[in-house]
Amino acid sequence: MIGGLFIYNHKGEVLISRVYRDDIGRNAVDAFRVNVIHARQQVRSPVTNIARTSFFHVKRSNIWLAAVTKQNVNATMVFEFLYKMCDVMSAYFGKISEENVKNNFVLIYELLDEILDFGYPQNSETGALKTFITQQGIKSQHHSKEEQSQITSQVTGQIGWRREGIKYRRNELFLDVLESVNLLMSPQGQVLSAHVSGRVVMKSYLSGMPECKFGMNDKIVIDKQGKGGSSEDGAKSGKQSIAIDDCTFHQCVRLSKFDSERSISFIPPDGDYELMRYRTTKDIILPFRVIPLVREVGRTKLEVKVVIKSNFKSSLLAQKIEVRIPTPLNTSGVQLICMKGKAKYKASENAIVWKVKRMAGMKESQISAEIELLPNDKKKWARPPISMNFEVPFAPSGLKVRYLKVFEPKLNYSDHDVIKWVRYIGRSGIYETRC
């Protein structure tokens, strides 16, 4: 198990050092600094073995977090724990910076004592931790007996992520479907690879211990329901449903229920959390199509024309559109003409950057560039792909939220009383077209 946990600043000075196991000595602190932080060559693996001691590290801005062990630990768990540790710290004091770590070192030690026992991670849900690890040490003394047992049962219980007795005057739910769409397209417009990785992010402000049920247009569910219906129905629903390759859930979701019935039911944590992640590869709506045309005019000139076509409902607006057209290293000058937005040649980045603030669906726009080249370069230009960034107000995977029901049998509010907000945002991931 984890033998020790150290936090360093960018200079390699220790800010936090907590040793859990006897086999980790003080020299481990220095070994990591010397061999990783101060290493002449950038370290090429997040796991480093120095003198039979293994170091796992992650970096958050300038801060290094390192977990140390001499045993054959579960490496995946160690990294998951380090991320979790970052989340917990952020939830307590915001950005993980040297200043914040130093200012909160007593709190961090208290947290480390609580969430890692003898190197075994314990309950690390901020919701639960905040009930008894507070920055006012005295307060925790004055819990009544019921309060105390409530805390301990929550920390160890089945619903470790939520405390009881939460009350809101207005019960509200915010649901964001955030997708990033990735594409690699050949110059001829053939899709080489495309996938969407999506997240369902929620903010819930609900009283009591509500039971929630989330439904979407998952093909498997729709097909199941469509069984016995007419074939026409099937075809109709088939269009609206999507095939999800894989999904993972927050620990509040009952996985066995999902496995058997494919229904997503859970008691939500309070506040922000990520309910699920998913990935789809079939029938993706590609919001933009990039059509490149590159012509070499002699040895010193290149003509580039790029057309972008928006491929979604004309009532919707895409935003923050940016097209990057790479230019050869021996470019000496560029002349640009674009129909919309602003374009600039950035010599330091070897690219033409074309920005368009907004663009409605079913439109097209184009840019043409004349690139002058220095003749002396022998090497052939590798022609890196044209990449694109954008944001659209729909889910490129086609995912639709069908329902999100809330049941709280003990308190007197019903599903109808909950105010729900749903939002879809599609962003470009790595969206490239070879030219």
């Binding site: 220790v14 936090i16 050092s17 907590r18 196991r21 090429r44 693996s45 997040p46 796991v47 073995n49 039979r52 293994s54 045993q71 054959n72 630990v73 579960n74 490496a75 995946t76 768990m77 990294f79 998951e80 991320y83 130093k102 200012n103 909160n104 070192f105 007593v106 208290e110 004592d113 026992d117 003898f118 075994y120 991670p121 849900e125 008894f132 040490g137 925790s140 003394q141 047992s149 301990t152 920390v155 160890t156 219980g157 470790g160 690879s193 894989d246 993972t248 859930f249 927050h250 620990q251 996985l255 066995s256 999902f258 496995d259 699920m276 992640r277 990935r279 090497k379 590798a382 790595i430």
Partner: protein, 984 residues
């Protein structure tokens, strides 16, 4: 929110100031002070001096302050065990506190204080806490049992805590169950044979129930534990799998990978024709792909694991090639791993896509990545025959880029392609030859030379090309030299008329001017072959070579099986069994897959690793550590002295050679009766020698053997060695290690121990006229302190007594100082004081320092002296040579220290004799290139072994000594002792 001020120090008088603040009456001030102490502790300052003051703050109702004090206690209790006892009462009291959080805090902290006396007090509170009504306390107590076991395993067993812990598996609270499982698993690891984790269908059922309810971390503990279970039959196996598969949708990657581990293991039990088997296979792919969208560090771990999974069950991911395509902004460690998996998944169906990708990668910036990409293209060619042609043309394109490292890498892989598809792509040779001058890496040069030699008959100027390499022959690396030798011999056999001079030149370079035994050996073999039977030579050297296999860097199957059982853990990241990187006896259990098919006999074969780890048997495959002993085990052993020379040699007469003509004659001299040449058998491989070291993805080992190793004539005796043959070649190459170690006994008669002369310890001026000089001797296993006491005062001295301060090795007078008669003025007396080594121990600086108090009728006098550490070398300090080897390997390289002994004019045997007098035993000796290496061991009275390698170069008065010891602090003393013994 300004706690950061505690990190700024006030330097002078800080401790003093803190002391005052800690004892302040004001609560706030106290708390501030403790915070300062903790901040200082964090940055590595020693604040142990404040121990009593900090502990005094422990009794407080401020929980935050209490936790800080506890943190301090955990850090310093070990160094201040007596004072730590002061804290016990508070702990015991806190364990009874009505607040469960405080009860748990107390038991959690107590377990972290590794002081024996505290441990005793811990038992009762722990027993109560294990049965506490509050689950929070129980789950903390469960982990505490593991802590206690780490400190004192016997105590845990005696107190019956293990049974209580087992009961907790049936606890109603899922987190208690999870922690109990974690604790039991850890304890079970150190008792491989105990049936501690008595996994039976009932307990498994409990675990599976808890799995659905506990925290993400708890799920990991349970899944990792489940993976050690062996289901009784395929039905049970399937039902467990069914209950584990929902975990594949967990957001925590560790839960997912641990579930994958369980499934991969239990799948072995399922019959392949079962429908469920197919379903399961299909279910495994999506979660593995999803892991690749996690954070980069997790991706890295996932990819290392997928690499294993793909080797074991390629069918799972065979359609998922695209997800392993490298993204522009992937960190380099992710890119390199993806590349590896791409090649593993490459098949005829997807090769076009893969090649297109690889070609893109070969134009990236990162040198390592580009090299690997180029190499990957070659591997694709070898793996997918249909693509070979396309791969070769891609490689040629890349060579045209003239990027130096790309060209070199491409040539290395083209050589491999030639070895897989001989006589198919020779058309490219011309292009390759154009780049000859730009090759500066040995591997690329060797590859190019191999190609030229292999296709010599088709390259018009092959002789010129090879000759150009010959100029700087001695500056080349061995790899290139060997290759050049072979290539020129091939050339000669193909074009004998024009290349005689060349071949003679290279043979003489290899045999006479080189001191590399491998090169010499190979040179002689060729020489003899050519001179005896050119026809045979042709058959041997130009024999058809076996084609290289498709998959070149597959992990050896038993290791792969073991690694599959360790999915998700460090072992799967390093691709090494845990025993290769975990110290001591822990984790040396070898896990095997228990399959319905295949070779699985038993699930676990625990190793008999003794506590010292000395006899820890290495697993079938260990990574080559490249340390000294590794070298010792290698093939190029050339022991010099005795050892029966095997009868061999059919003396070939010089006249028999007609092929090489007179030129060779003159080279060989006139000797007609050549000395016998030993029969070379394969050097016996010690069992410790890795059967297959995880070789880098190149084929150099096979390459070297490609021409020579496989030839049947190898073992046959050859005749006619030239007169100038170096001595070492005459010695038997066979026998290897065993012979080497047989020398140990014959090192010669030991001389007596060296005893340093007496030195002045206590001058008369400092001791009111008493002068003491003395020395230490070891006779027949007894250490004596020999002293001359001289009375330089005016009065008679009497009533002598002596006492030692605590010291590093527990030296203490074994009896009273025997000076019976009073000492008159100007009289001196000799006294010998026998010493024991069972006195109290305290580490001294320097280690061999001894503080002595001598009392007489006048006063008490103190002095300190240093004893030679050889006094402590016991007579049975001669280690078994096998144990020596194992121990040398086992001690981490960090513990090795090297020293120079200057101006010593002994030869190695004399040195060895001298040292043996001081109980430094020579276990083995070997000679390499005129340098004698002595392997020696000694054992201290307190059982510490010190291993040494002494290097003595003929004619060089400077010795080099490397010392390895588990307690490296003794090295300096031992070195000084060596110096002293050898120079006197």
């Amino acid at each position: 929110m300004t706690d950061s001020k505690y990190f700024t120090t006030t330097k002078k008088g800080e401790i003093f100031e803190l002391k005052a603040e800690l004892n302040s009456d004001k609560k706030e001030k106290k708390k501030e002070a403790v915070k300062k102490v903790i901040a200082s502790m964090t940055v590595g300052k020693d604040v142990s001096a404040l121990f009593p003051d900090v502990v005094n703050c422990m009794q407080t109702d401020n929980l935050e302050l209490k936790k800080l004090v506890y943190l301090y206690l955990m850090n310093y209790a070990k160094s201040q065990p007596d004072m730590a006892i002061m804290a016990v009462n508070t702990f015991v009291k806190d364990c009874e506190d009505p607040n469960p959080l405080i009860r748990a805090l107390a038991v959690r902290t107590m377990g972290c204080i590794r002081v024996d006396k505290i441990t005793e007090y811990l038992c009762e509170p722990l027993r109560k806490c294990l049965k506490d009504e509050d689950p929070y306390v129980r789950k903390t107590a469960a982990v505490c049992v593991a802590k206690l076991h780490d400190i004192n395993a016997q105590l845990v067993e005696d107190q019956g805590f293990l049974d209580t812990l087992k009961d907790l598996i049936s606890d109603s609270n899922p987190m208690v169950v999870a922690n109990a499982v974690a604790a039991l698993s850890e304890i079970a690891e150190s008792h491989p044979n105990s049936n501690l984790l008595d996994l039976n269908p009932q307990t498994i059922n409990k675990l599976l129930t808890a799995l659905n309810e506990c925290t993400e971390w708890g799920q990991i503990f349970i899944l990792d534990c489940l993976a050690n279970y062996t289901p009784r039959d395929d039905r049970e196996s399937q039902s467990i799998c069914e209950r584990v598969t929902p975990r594949l949708s967990h957001a925590n990657s560790a839960v997912v990978l641990s579930a994958v581990k369980v499934l991969m293991k239990f799948m072995e039990m399922l019959p392949k024709d079962l429908d469920y088997y197919g379903t399961l296979l299909k279910k495994l792919a999506p979660p593995l792909v999803t892991l690749l969208s996690a954070e980069p560090e997790l991706q890295y771990v996932a990819l290392r694991n997928i690499n294993l999974i793909v080797q074991r069950r390629p069918e799972i991911l065979k359609h998922e090639m695209k997800v392993f395509f490298v993204k522009y902004n992937d960190p380099i460690y992710v890119k390199l791993e993806k590349l590896d998996i791409m090649i593993r998944l490459a098949s005829q169906a997807n090769i076009a896509q893969v090649l297109a990708e690889l070609k893109e990668y070969a134009t990236e910036v990162d040198v390592d990545f580009v090299r690997k990409a180029v190499r990957a293209i070659g591997r694709c060619a070898i793996k997918v025959e249909q693509s070979a042609e396309r791969c070769v043309s891609t490689l040629l394109d890349l060579i045209q880029t003239k990027v130096n490292y790309v060209v070199q890498e491409a040539i290395v892989v083209i050589k491999d392609i030639f070895r897989k598809y001989p006589n198919k792509y020779e058309s490219v040779i011309a292009t390759l030859c154009e780049n000859l001058d730009s090759l500066d890496e040995p591997e690329a040069r060797a590859a190019m030379i191999w190609i030229v030699g292999e296709y010599a008959e088709r390259i018009d100027n092959a002789d010129e090309l090879l000759e150009s390499f010959l100029e700087g022959f001695h500056d080349e690396s061995t790899q290139v030299q060997l290759q050049l030798l072979t290539a020129i011999v091939k050339l000669f056999l193909k074009k004998p008329t024009e290349t005689q001079e060349l071949v003679q030149q290279v043979l003489s370079l290899a045999t006479q001017d080189s001191d590399n035994p491998d090169l010499r050996d190979r040179g002689y073999i060729y020489w003899r072959l050519l001179s005896t039977d050119p026809v045979a030579a042709k058959e041997v050297v130009l024999a058809e070579k076996p084609l290289i296999s498709e998959e070149t860097d597959l992990i050896e199957p038993t290791l792969l099986e073991e690694l599959i059982c360790h999915i998700g853990t460090l072992a799967s990241v390093y691709h090494k069994p845990p025993s290769a990187f975990v110290e001591g006896s822990r984790g040396v259990q070898h896990k095997r897959l228990a399959g319905s098919s295949g070779s699985g006999e038993s699930v676990e074969s625990p190793d008999t690793g003794s506590a010292a780890g000395v006899s820890e048997a290495p697993p079938a495959v260990i990574p080559s550590q490249g340390d000294l002993l590794g070298d010792l085990l290698n093939l190029d052993l050339t022991p010099t002295t005795t050892g029966p020379p095997p009868p061999a040699s059919t003396g070939m007469q010089m006249g028999a050679m007609d092929l090489l003509g007179g030129g060779l004659d003159s080279l060989m001299g006139d000797e007609s009766e050549p000395p016998p040449i030993p029969l070379r058998t394969d050097t016996p491989q010690s069992p410790q020698l890795p059967h297959q070291s995880p070789s880098p993805p190149d084929y150099s080992p096979t390459e070297l053997g490609g021409d020579l190793g496989g030839s049947p004539a190898m073992g046959a005796p050859f005749g006619a060695p030239p007169a100038t043959m170096p001595a070492s070649f005459n010695a038997p190459v066979s026998g290897g290690l065993d012979d080497l170690f047989d020398l140990a006994g014959g090192v010669g008669m030991p001389m007596g121990a060296y005893n340093p002369p007496k030195t002045l310890w206590l001058p008369a001026m400092k001791a009111k006229g008493l002068e003491i000089s003395g020395t230490f001797v070891r006779r027949a296993g007894v250490i004596q302190m020999e002293m001359t006491l001289n009375n330089k005062a005016m009065s008679v001295m009497s009533d002598f007594a002596i006492q030692f301060n605590r010291n590093s090795f527990g030296l203490a007078p074994a009896g009273p100082l025997q000076i019976l008669t009073p000492l008159s003025p100007n009289q001196s007396i000799e006294a010998a004081l026998p010493l024991s080594t069972v006195g109290p121990v305290m580490k001294m600086e320097p280690l061999n320092n001894l503080q002595v108090a001598v009392k007489n009728n006048i006063d008490v006098f103190y002095f300190s002296c240093q004893y030679p550490i050889s006094m402590l070398f016991v007579e049975d300090g001669k280690m078994e040579r096998q144990v020596f080897l194992a121990t040398w390997k086992d001690i981490p390289n960090d513990n090795e220290s090297q020293f120079q002994i200057k101006d010593c004019h002994l030869n190695s045997d004399a040195a060895s004799n001298k040292l043996q007098g001081s109980n430094i035993f020579t276990i083995a000796k070997r000679t390499v290139e005129g340098q004698d290496m002595l392997y020696q061991s000694m054992k201290l009275t307190n059982g510490i072994w010190v291993l040494a390698e002494l290097r003595v170069q003929m004619g060089n008065p400077n010795y080099t000594i490397s010392l390895k010891c588990r307690a490296p602090e003794v090295s300096q003393c031992v070195f000084q002792n060596y110096e002293m013994v050898l120079k006197n």
